[in-house]
Amino acid sequence: MLVYTVRRVLGAIPVLLLASVLTFVLIDVSGDPLSDLRMQQPPPDPSVIELQEERLYLDRSMPERYWLWMTGIGGNGDIGLLQGEFGPSTQSATYDIGENIADRLGVTLRLVTAAMVFALGLAVLSGVISAMRQYSKLDYTLTFVGFLALAMPTFWFAGIMQQAGVGFNELVGAQIFATIGDGTYQAQGLDAWGRFTNALAYMTLPTIVLMLTSFAAWSRYQRTSMLEVLNSDYVRLARAKGLPNRVVIRRHALRTALIPLTTVVAVGMAGIIDGTVLTERVFQWRGLGEFFIAAVEANDSFALMAWLMLSGTAVIVANLIADLLYGVLDPRIRFE
């Protein structure tokens, strides 16, 4: 198991490295961080541009810049991923990318975690029910809901939920759902219970929005996987032993049908990150999604790279966890 773990971790490093090269090059060639400055009217003094180029290391070649960004060797101390520095920002000389990310990480992480947990739980539940009642009205309904959810643009659904929240509040005459902001500000100075109810009011709608797509994809997958297991010989043998249906489902079918889901969930992590950006935009959260949009708008290459590396690492870590979990759940892997 240890060997297996080490092998998996070592295998993830080249992928991450390759991802960093790819994203760096693409971000670098796709835009000029100083294009806004250069196009300013009246044109700024060439020395101003030069100064900015030097600050942003644009006076060096791209490979040099990548090396610098990765290691920080030969820089001004504000760059070098391996030293924990993300590089200078175009947004202002004092804008610290690392600090800003750290600031917003909590809010976004809270949303992502909640969405993943609920999506997973509901997906397993609806997948199992669908599989057990294959071709029933319930199965068809759940299948259609799944298809609908997969066809729904996250941001449009977010808008609808926002409207629904506002409408609901008006209907009951109380502020049950908060539809704007992440609630961090309002939570200040509250006790634990107060912070919890506050978070609940702010998080409910965005969580529902963010989990929708993942829920749909995973419940389809769980249904298929469950059906496959239900038709397997060992489930038939479990029935032939005289185990009642619910024991067969829980102990033999569900247990094994969950194993392949781990991998699917990990891959789905990337989709959740996409959804976060859109959801945060609609609900006007001050999270990593907003940070990302600001970075794109400001052509802030190093901020974008920091963001992409963070999300890439998150997906890879999720995959690692899934691999290890797979090993724990499936003895065939464990003993390899």
């Binding site: 297996y4 092998r7 998996r8 070592l10 295998g11 071709y135 038709n231 397997s232 010989d233 060992y234 489930v235 038939r236 043998l237 479990a238 029935r239 032939a240 032993k241 005289g242 185990l243 009642p244 249906n245 033999h252 247990r255 094994t256 194993i259 759940l329 499936d330 003895p331 065939r332 003993f335 390899e336």
Partner: protein, 723 residues
């Protein structure tokens, strides 16, 4: 291990218990229908039978006959879309249509089941011990520890070595034979009254089959359970059961005591089945008698008797009226018997009285209409082939496969020697059979000869040309002469090509096209006994036997000199198999082909081969003419293989002498030192002295003639007559 006396003792015991008039399982008018795209599919129609306490009933039939569906219906294990009608009762208690809670009390307790594929019937994520204990706990209020103790006891009964350790192992750590024994242990856990075994040994090698059948036998002695043994293998039935039922097209078409059915069948189908089987215990130059046509599609059942389109005796009434399952009295009249009468011999044939003592040949060869599957010239010339020049010769062939870890880095962690130093000669116009169990390297050898994979070392010569030194490009022209026929007729034909394209493909590859090629396709189709009009169809429109004929036609397209046949009939039903074997024999005669016939089925090999080479763990352990190998086998492994093949003859099967090997084939990545067979060798275990054994452990035996008239690879070889 088991001797003649032993088995006959058991028989007597069983005969006594049968005399008691208590029925444990009664099935009455059981029918099963599945909805399908093209209308309802009647998988089982009005099947009735009884099983008495301690009795063994066999149910035989080919694929699609409904034999498995019947037992699934009894157990209530069919998918919810299946419609089941009729009744099945255990100890007088109805079990069809029970609720889940009710049937759960019966399943595994009163009636237990064993499935075909041991590799998939255990849950991969739980230990073996847990899965057995679970069966105990499902029906008994005992502690978990007590259930585990019982599991241990059960593992001992079914003959699993070091059971204490096995309890904590997962299924994937056990071999197929072991796993099937675990399934048997689960089935007997609560001392059921009936055990239904659905093809329990079909997925296993013959030597392992013998072990598992013995474990099954022990389970029955231990629990006193009755057995319903479902199988397609007439040999297994002959040795294991007292009564047998034959199913065809979803119906029971014949039923009676096993000797009656085997020696005096009253239904042409049963007679035909027996005639189409290559037999170890009869003259091997006899030509097989195939049943023409193919089993009926359940969606397009013929009117009247389901067998009538294939039956040489069929008259007008057979096509009109479906015959009932009736007994024949002494005057030749057909009379009904009560379902409970276990001595009666019933058959569903209008003319069962006319069948009398006829032999399969009389019926199926002379009076039958032309075979549609293959029209063959009657009576082949006597087998006087071989003895010519070696056309393919193989020297010291070795193939190593690297073992990679499954991790991201895929490091090389060792080697498996699939083939380790094989030498053989295939002579002109002869059939050389390469025989062995799964994993012995026989298929790898076949592909090495064809240079489809490259050898690690060794030489392959074809008509004096060294193939092992050729590049892929240089090899191409020689491929015309060396062709391959595959085991699986479903996987070996590209589903997206028409039959004409499939057969013409080798010609196209070698630059032959146009009208010549089209004409050749038609010629080839009629050569293998198919209608040339059908060349524009796709493979899925043909039955298994017909597809295999297409595969043969493709192999013949380039006029090869050598055909390598990799288990060409193993995937086919018995009644179809015979036709393909006859076809292969005729083609050899007609076209002067040389065959390398790779197979695990010794009965087929004995029928078709001129010479035989037996492989074990990558090495040839014995080789000689077919006569020598079967008349006077010298290597203990060959002897074990021969005695493991069941004869389709109840008396011979129960009285023959057996040499049984224990355990499973060791992993080829870590073969035993010295003689590779010693870990399973009955001679090594039972007859050799300590000093003699040292030689087996230390010195690998050479393949040479030790005075038996043919080469073997055993230091202490000794001829034993088994047939």
């Amino acid at each position: 291990m088991s001797t003649t006396d032993h088995t006959s003792d058991e028989k007597d015991e069983r005969a006594v218990t049968v005399a008691h008039d208590d029925v444990v399982l009664e099935v009455r008018d059981l029918s099963v229908t599945f909805p399908s795209e093209d209308g309802p599919l009647h998988a089982v129609r009005d099947v009735s039978y009884v099983v008495r306490r301690g009795e063994a009933l066999g149910i035989v039939g080919e694929s699609g006959s409904g034999k498995s569906v019947t037992s699934m219906a009894i157990m209530g294990l069919l998918p919810p879309n299946a419609k089941v009608s009729g009744s099945a009762s255990v100890l007088g208690e109805e079990i069809v249509g029970l609720t889940d809670a009710q049937i759960s009390k019966v399943r595994g307790n009163r009636i237990a089941m064993i499935f075909q594929d041991p590799l998939t019937s255990l849950n991969p994520v739980y230990t073996v011990g847990y899965q057995i204990a679970e069966a105990v706990l499902a029906h008994r209020k005992v502690t978990k520890q007590a259930a585990m103790d019982r599991a241990l006891e059960l593992l001992e009964i079914v003959g699993i070595p070091s059971p204490q350790q096995r309890l904590k192992q997962y299924p994937h750590e056990l071999s197929g034979g072991m796993r099937q024994r675990v399934v048997i242990a689960i089935a007997m856990a609560n001392e059921p009254d009936v055990i239904i075994a659905d093809e329990p040994t079909t997925a296993l090698d013959v030597t392992v089959q013998a072990q598992v059948l013995e474990a099954l036998d022990r389970a029955r002695q231990e629990t006193g359970a009755a057995l319903v043994l479902i199988t397609h293998d007439l040999g297994v039935v002959a040795g294991q059961v007292e009564r047998v039922g034959v199913m065809y097209g979803g119906r029971m078409v014949e039923m009676g005591p096993v000797e009656e059915v085997f020696y005096r069948p009253r239904m042409p189908y049963a007679l035909g089945l027996l005639g189409s089987l290559p037999r170890m215990d009869e003259d091997r130059s006899d030509r097989l008698t195939p049943i023409m046509g193919t089993p009926p599609a359940l969606l397009a059942m013929p009117k009247g008797c389901a067998f009538s389109p294939r039956c040489p005796m069929a008259k007008e009434i057979c096509h009109q009226e479906e015959p009932l399952l009736l007994a024949t009295d002494e005057h030749g009249g057909r009379v009904p018997v009560p379902v409970g009468d276990t001595t009666a011999h019933t058959a569903a044939c209008h003319f069962s009285d006319e069948l009398g003592e006829s032999a399969p040949d009389d019926l199926f060869r002379t009076s039958g209409p032309q075979e549609t599957e293959g029209d063959e010239p009657p009576a082949a010339a006597p087998k006087e082939r071989g003895g010519g020049e070696a056309i393919v010769s193989v020297t010291n062939l070795v193939k190593n496969f690297p073992i990679h870890s499954k991790g991201l880095l895929r490091r090389r962690i060792g080697e498996v020697q699939a083939v380790s130093g094989i030498s053989l000669d295939l002579r002109e116009r002869e059939t050389l059979a390469l025989v062995g169990e799964s994993g012995c390297g026989k298929s790898t050898t076949a592909r090495l000869i064809l240079q489809l994979i490259k050898q690690s070392s060794g030489e392959v010569h074809y008509m004096g040309k060294p193939l092992h030194t050729l590049s892929a490009r240089q090899m191409r022209p020689l491929r015309r002469d060396l062709q391959l026929v595959f085991q699986d007729p479903f996987a070996s034909l590209d589903p997206r090509m028409t039959v004409a394209d499939i057969i013409a493909e080798p010609m196209r590859i070698h630059g032959q096209r146009g009208t010549d090629a089209r004409k050749r396709v038609k010629d080839l189709l009629s050569l293998v006994g198919l209608n040339a009009e059908h060349s524009s169809r796709y493979p899925h429109e043909f039955s298994g036997g017909q597809r295999q004929r297409i595969g043969v036609a493709r192999a013949l397209a380039l006029n090869p000199k050598v055909l390598i046949l990799d288990e060409p009939v193993s995937a086919l039903d018995v009644s179809i198999q015979a036709g393909v074997i006859n076809l292969l024999e005729d083609l050899q005669e007609e076209l002067g082909l040389s065959y390398l016939f790779v197979s695990h089925d010794l009965s087929v090999v004995r029928h078709i081969a001129d010479r035989v080479a037996v492989m074990y763990l990558g090495k040839i352990v014995e080789t000689g003419t077919t006569e020598q190998m079967f008349r006077s086998p010298a290597h203990p492994y060959t002897q074990a293989l021969i005695s493991a093949i069941p004869f389709p003859d109840p008396v011979k099967e129960r009285t023959r002498e057996r040499i049984i090997v224990t355990g499973d084939v060791p992993s080829p990545s870590d073969p035993p030192s010295g003689c590779r067979f010693r870990t399973r060798c009955p001679k090594f275990a039972g007859q050799l002295s300590e000093a003699e054994r040292v030689r087996c452990v230390e010195e690998p035996p050479e393949l040479m003639d030790r005075g038996t008239g043919h080469p073997d690879a055993c230091h202490y070889s000794q001829v034993v007559e088994l047939i």
